[in-house]
Symmetry: C2
DNA sequence: GTAGCTGCAAACTCTTTGCAACTCT
DNA sequence: AGAGTTGCAAAGAGTTTGCAGCTAC
């Protein structure tokens, strides 16, 4: 049982074939797959997976903090395993997503929230851009 | 004809009663109304306004850059007149939206995009927080 | 006069859910 | 054994769209 499956077990989740397939897809993903993407890939591992189960499982994993749901300006959700904290730059031409991290921004975020009288709980920072020709 | 109506005219839009009602609602809004909000308020000015027209008009105004569409993590859109550039902090308890602006972040954003090989076209920065008890 | 705008209702997309059957523990 | 999980199909929420009639210019 790998690390993620352990976290699921600890949360009291039963490890079904469908869930294992979905987790495998997410663990192996180098991109930020949509629900439909996860569904298509999971079906190749376990043909019995249904789209309803993908939705249910991803919501559950999101609540547990095992995955992170993103809603880039596309009208649907994308998911990734919750690893290190980072933000995203979306390539407006290809839809490709690049990750980045910046300590300075983290500090400023905290300060802004505090100055406005708020405790920062969550944050969404997304850049949208076009590849520079060199 | 006020400033916003002029911009619409310049863009070739016909100024109908429905559009004027919608624009009046947006101009007068101190919050960030949802489509439903705009619809309800516009109906009080011009009872003939339909929700379809509100959707169509807001999309149009968004394309023209006259309004800005936001999708805070709520599952629907909110709009505001496109005035000065700013970001938003959403109060997780009340749903209230506070605006802020920060030059440092603007600079860092540009730098991050450039360093990743991108021209920054758009950006979404939203903080979600809980009011601090003092 | 006519291109553009409108209301209506139907259609669409993404997501959620009720239910009866099934399965992990 | 039993609580949790599943697939299916139907329902939901928000949004878009085809169409015939209307209206600003």
């Amino acid at each position: 049982m790998n690390n993620i499956e352990k976290r699921c077990a600890d949360a009291g989740l039963k490890m079904t074939g469908q869930r294992r397939a979905i987790l495998d897809v997410l663990s192996g993903a180098k991109d930020h797959p949509s629900v439909e993407d996860v569904y298509e890939r999971a079906k190749k591992i376990d043909a019995s997976v249904s789209i309803a189960t993908v939705y249910r499982t991803l919501s559950l994993l999101d609540e547990l903090g095992i995955v992170v749901r993103h809603e880039f300006q596309e009208g649907y959700s994308r998911y990734e395993i919750n690893s290190s904290h980072h933000h995203h730059l979306v390539d407006l031409e290809s839809g490709k997503v690049v990750e980045f991290q910046n300590d300075e921004i983290e500090k400023i975020k905290q300060k802004i929230a505090k100055d406005l009288g708020y405790e920062l709980v969550e944050c969404r920072l997304e850049l949208y851009g076009r590849k520079l020709k060199k």
